[in-house]
Every structure is written in structure tokens, then in C-alpha cells.
Subunit: 242 residues, 2 copies
DNA sequence: CTTCATATTATGTATAGACATAATAACCTA
DNA sequence: TAGGTTATTATGTCTATACATAATATGAAG
């Protein structure tokens, strides 16, 4: 097995790629050859060591910094972070795609649809004017005829031209919106809530069951677009890897 | 306001950076100038349009692909993804840092510590041999004297030299581990569970309350290191933005 | 000795060209 | 006409150099 702490691959003819360099640097960080808070050699010095160029070394170190291992500042140099600020990346798929990826078939059912003045709590969350109108849509998503997710969504009608003409009987609001509204900013909040009576009925749960809940707020060019609460069937877990 | 759909900034003397190019391309995607599934002009053509080089255009498009907007393949070109596969990035801070960031003061208390054979469910999860030993540590994390998080952790003793000598009375196992064990691979699962009697007592909750739960499994160079369940005080939400 | 100005250094990013390679298009042969 | 081969193209990445700029070190002056 190649000694990854060495600078060069065993075959001297094979140049070190930016990925090779990342791996060597990461190995040195993890083995404490370069301990937390220590200053790395300059890019210029590393380029010499790896028989590479500053641009290639820069890319390797920049990506390690983006991944939370290093801190870089001009002139100050590159430092190993004391506690890596690791970041998990969560893919946010369409619920249809998520169900299909589970190997199940997807089904959608509209539960309710009404146009109304934005409730106070929503106007407050979004900073909406008092008379703002929203479309409130509730729907169910099924996986192989079993409940998977209950969706409770409010759409700001001024932000989505044509939304009042959409009846959402055949297609869910999220898929409809994705076709029409590119969304720039999303805020997600994961939490646990308690199943109320209606929730329990739709999700085949018992009232009081703990429900994994995702709140999703979206904006387009600074204007609020939607607020959705997604309630998952009991037992659901959202998994990601770093 | 500068018309961002134009290729060049108004001031012809200011060259377009890779960030400018990203923004123009993103604007064209969001405004459907380049609709979903469409093929973008080649990097060479875009470099000409932006009076730039392939390397600069490549960086802009590569980052947009990493952010989930584009799909790129050699020779096949660059396409706009039908549904952006957006990814949220979750910073995974130390619980101490999370509490301090909230403006509260942090306190740690060891609840229990015992060495034992790995329970069957854990051996199964990690693929451990039947006689594997683990250190089971339970502890509480407080924010301003209020319960914040209950931590239930199993540490594979073979993977962590010195762990049996650690009593964890003054410092939590996670901080202790971070000082000694760089962790390469992490799997996180977010879910909702129900507060049992002990949990309710520690977290100042009622039995049966929904509890936002994070399971964290870690490996180093392929070997299992820890399995932790983090239970959060009722009302806790984990927020991230895309 | 302290403060301010200047020099130096290390990273951030751009350019131009080169080579590698995956994927598609075009061409040739049976 | 279909299948196989070859050419072409578009992206992936590297090199070498240059310029920008943030941050630190050094030196000069009061």
C-alpha cells in the first residue's frame, strides 16, 4: 500500500494531481504530522515538494478549506483548524424522487386548497404586509400506497403569477413551483413535533406520536415565495454522510 | 441596477471574474433564458462571449455544477438540470460552540460511564466481532443551566487507544475524541423519537414528548469509532440555508 | 520606545496554452 | 443498412506566469 504521507507517488512519472495533493495533506492533518493550529508550508514550498505548481496546490488547499479542515488568509498563510468545521451536505430531492429512490412507487393526493389572507404568524415570519394573500395547500405523498409525507404549504400569491389558476389536483405544488419559479434562497429547519389528530389520521400514526418535521421557507430575489411544513411518517430518518 | 443578464459589466475596464460569470449564468438559468434540460454554449464560446478564458469559465460552471444547477460531461457539454439538486450545507459544530453561539454559557455533566461488550444492535450496525468492547458514556449538555442536549454514546475501545483511561468527568467524550482522533467518515441521521422516562427527566420534558434526535456514526480509516445519539430539548430546531 | 510608512510575503485569481479523456459525430466497409 | 472504426469536440486538469490584495515584517522618524 502506497505510503500516503510521502509527497510523491511511487511512480515518479505519474504527476501528482490536485486530488493526490488533497489526500496527502489530509493524511498529514489526520496523523498530526501537521497538528491543529499549525501553519502549513506556503503554496510555493508545497508546489516544490509535490513537483507541481501553485495553481494545482491552491486548488487542493482551497477545497480542503471549503471542506472545513483549513483556514486560509492572504499573507497569513494556511492553518490547520483546531476542530474541523465539518459540513454535511444534504441533497434536497423532490419527494417523488425520494420515494422512487427508495424503490417504491409514488402517489400524490390533494387534501385541501384555499385562498386566504396570510395568517398572522406567517405574515410575521415572512415580513408580509397585513393584507397579503396566500394559497394554502395541504396534500399527501404516498410510497407504495403507504403514507410517506404530509405537506402543509402556504404560497404567496403575489410572488407566483398563475398560482391561483393551479388546482393542484394532479400535481403537487412543489413540482408545479419548480417548473415555474426558480428559487434562489431556501431556509430549512429540522425538528420534532407531535402528531395531532388530523396528522395522525393521514400519516397512519397515533395522536401524540413524534413526527420528524422539516420547515422550508423560500424566497426569490428577496421576495418570500413559500412556507412549507413537511411531516414524515413515524420512523422516518434523514441520513447524510460527510 | 446593472442588467445582470448581459455578458459584460457596464464598465468595460472591469474584467468579468469567475464570480461574475457564475452570476450571469445563474440569472439566465433562473429567468429561463437557458431553460431546464437545455444545452449551454461550450466553454470556448462562453469564454469568447465574456472576453475571458476557458479556465475562468470552467471554474464558474464547475462551481454551479457542484451547487446542483448544472450537469457537465466531457464532449456531451453542460446542461441545465431539470430540477436543481440543491444541497444544504450543515455545519456540525461542537455542542459547546453551538451553545456559546446562542449567547448562553455551556456546562457539561457526566451521567454514566461503563465498559461492556458491544450490545448486539450496535455490533450489527457497525459490523463488529461478537466480543468487541465498547465504552458507554451518557452525559448532559446545558445552556445557561437549562438542559440542552442528552448524549448517549458508545465508543469502540479498540479504535481509540487511551479511551479507557479517560473518565469524562470534566470534559465530554466528543471534545476528548476530537483532540485525539481525527475522524474521516461521518454518517448523520436526523429523526424524531419519543422521550422515555429518563430522557424526560434529564431534558425537562414530559414522557412521550417528541424529541429531535441526531444519530452520528463515525469511522477512521474504515474502522468504526463511535456511535452517538444526541437528544435535544423539546422545541429545538436545526436550521440551515442554501 | 512608539507610531507610522514602506517593503515583503503569501494567498486570490486571471490568462494562455497544453495535454488527457470521455462522448459524440462522421465515415467506411461488409 | 448496420456495425465498427476513426475523427472531432467539449470538458477535466496542469503548467507557467502575471497581477491584485490582504496581512505581516521591517525600518525610519519623532
Amino acid at each position: 500500500m502506497t505510503d500516503l504521507l510521502s509527497a510523491a507517488p511511487e511512480d515518479p512519472r505519474e504527476p501528482m494531481s490536485f486530488r493526490d495533493i488533497k489526500q496527502v495533506v489530509l493524511d498529514r492533518i489526520e496523523s498530526r504530522v501537521w497538528p491543529p493550529d499549525s501553519l502549513l508550508p506556503s503554496e510555493k514550498d508545497l508546489a516544490e515538494e509535490f513537483s507541481s505548481t501553485r495553481t494545482t496546490v491552491n486548488r487542493a488547499l482551497r477545497e480542503l478549506a471549503e471542506e472545513g479542515y483549513l483556514e486560509r488568509r492572504r499573507k497569513a498563510g494556511t492553518r490547520v483548524l483546531n476542530a474541523p468545521v465539518r459540513q454535511a451536505r444534504l441533497a434536497i430531492p423532490l419527494v417523488r424522487d425520494e420515494v422512487v429512490a427508495m424503490g417504491a412507487s409514488y402517489r400524490y393526493v390533494l387534501v385541501g386548497r384555499e385562498e386566504l389572507a396570510a395568517p398572522g404568524w406567517l405574515a410575521a415570519r415572512f415580513g408580509l404586509p397585513p393584507q397579503a394573500r396566500v394559497l394554502h395547500v395541504r396534500c399527501m405523498h404516498f410510497a407504495d400506497a403507504r403514507p410517506f409525507q404530509f405537506e402543509d404549504r402556504w404560497i404567496v400569491t403575489d410572488s407566483v403569477p398563475g398560482v391561483l389558476e393551479a388546482d393542484f389536483s394532479a400535481i403537487g405544488p412543489n413540482e408545479w413551483l419548480l417548473q415555474r419559479v426558480p428559487v434562489s434562497n431556501v431556509e430549512l429547519t429540522f425538528s420534532a413535533s407531535r402528531a395531532g389528530a388530523e396528522m395522525a389520521e393521514f400519516l397512519d400514526a397515533a395522536p401524540g406520536d413524534p413526527i420528524f418535521t422539516v420547515e422550508r421557507m423560500t424566497w426569490l430575489r428577496g421576495a418570500p415565495v413559500t412556507f412549507a411544513r413537511l411531516y414524515h411518517v413515524p420512523g422516518y430518518g434523514l441520513t447524510t454522510r460527510i
